[in-house]
């Protein structure tokens, strides 16, 4: 008769120990000891147009996209990082060039770009943001507005050196 490599009891014990270790955060990679990098969101890169122009404002404005950019690990704010933003707004579809624009983070790693009001498209009122400048790993975000009447939307980046 062959002997099972695990008894039910040993399996429960090892599995339980693994889960406890995972839950307690003992098993995160050494490199990310601290602030973990933001993963790209599903659908975040949809209708991305690389190299959106730096603008003071997208279209007529009236709505604010804001957020922060920090470095993974120590969480240091990253100034001068280029963030690209696009959405379906009252002035155009996601794919339209005039719906895209870019801005830089300030000394505190914060960015803020005025743009037209985002309106629900493809079932949800949402925006798109990209960090795609090379020094850090590329990240695409797709935040959703809690109400389509909101006048602001925020998204935060934690970037990992490339």
């Amino acid at each position: 008769m062959t002997k099972a490599p695990f008894t039910r009891r040993s399996l429960m014990a090892t599995g339980g120990a693994f889960m406890a270790a995972g839950a307690s955060g003992l098993m995160v990679p050494a490199r990310a000891a601290g602030l973990a990098p933001t993963p790209s969101m599903r659908g975040g890169s949809n209708n991305y147009r690389p190299g959106a122009a730096m603008v003071d404002r997208i279209g007529g404005g009236g709505f604010w996209m804001a957020g922060t950019v920090r470095r993974a690990g120590d969480g240091a704010p990253l100034p001068g990082q280029r963030i690209q933003i696009w959405a379906h707004t009252t002035e155009g579809h996601e794919r339209d060039p005039q719906s895209h624009g870019a801005t830089l983070t300030d000394a505190n790693g914060e960015f803020r770009l005025e743009m037209p009001q985002i309106v629900p498209a493809f079932g949800q009122p949402h925006g798109h943001l990209a960090y795609d400048s090379g020094a850090f790993e590329t990240v695409f975000l797709r935040p959703i507005m809690s109400r389509s009447s909101d006048k602001t939307l925020t998204a935060h980046f934690v970037l990992q050196p490339a």
């Binding site: 209708n47 794919r95 493809f122 079932g123």
Partner: protein, 199 residues
């Protein structure tokens, strides 16, 4: 006679009011014609999902069983047509969003429900077209067709209710409730789960 006029009037209102309410949506001002057409194809599809169980259950006064079945067939064909317009129109509007949906990789939870409903309605129509060639006993065939139709209806209702789109919320909810009621009524009337041979 009065009863039948009332039933038809109520049905026409149930079908038209959600379409008229959607036509008044402020979102339309910020959409291109193809996107608008794709959205309305979805609304019309939901209306046809109300017609289908009513025709299959022969609830509508003045329609003979034969006429009911014929109309059920035509509405089924129209349903396949509007589903195609819906998906192709959305694909033209934003290809990556539709590709994500079809591959079940979409960030929006309603997409998967819609795609499941789409495949179910294709399969249900396929069974309808192949009924004679499949040489299944009628009640067995019917159980298969009804099961696929039920997946279509439940998938479409969840899909529609989770979306923030052009449909007005009250009329959308009412239409979905009517679709579910008509489906339950027809299932009960036809006793579709009973696949025994008739004695």
């Amino acid at each position: 006679m009065i009863r039948s006029i009332f039933i038809w009037a109520a049905l026409i209102a149930a079908l038209l009011v959600p379409i008229i309410a959607a036509a008044a949506s402020p979102l339309l001002a910020w959409r291109q014609p193809v996107y608008i057409a794709a959205g309305f194809a979805g609304v019309v599809g939901m209306c046809l999902l109300l017609m289908q169980p009513l025709l299959a259950g022969r609830w509508l006064p003045g329609l003979s069983p034969m006429a009911s079945r014929l109309w059920h067939r035509w509405c089924g064909m129209a349903l396949i047509g509007v589903v195609l317009v819906h998906v192709v129109g959305l694909w033209i509007t934003s290809p990556p969003d539709v590709v994500d949906a079809l591959l079940f990789m979409s960030p929006t939870p309603f997409s998967a429900w819609g795609v499941v409903a789409m495949w179910a309605v294709f399969a249900a129509a396929f069974l309808g077209l192949l009924r004679h060639r499949l040489a299944l006993r009628f009640r067995v065939w019917r159980l298969g067709h009804v099961t696929l139709a039920l997946v279509t209806i439940l998938g479409s209702v969840v899909h529609a209710m989770l979306i923030e789109g052009t449909m007005e919320i009250m009329t959308k909810t009412a239409l979905c409730m009517l679709v579910l009621l008509a489906s339950a009524g027809t299932l009960a009337k036809l006793r579709v789960w009973d696949v025994r041979r008739r004695a």
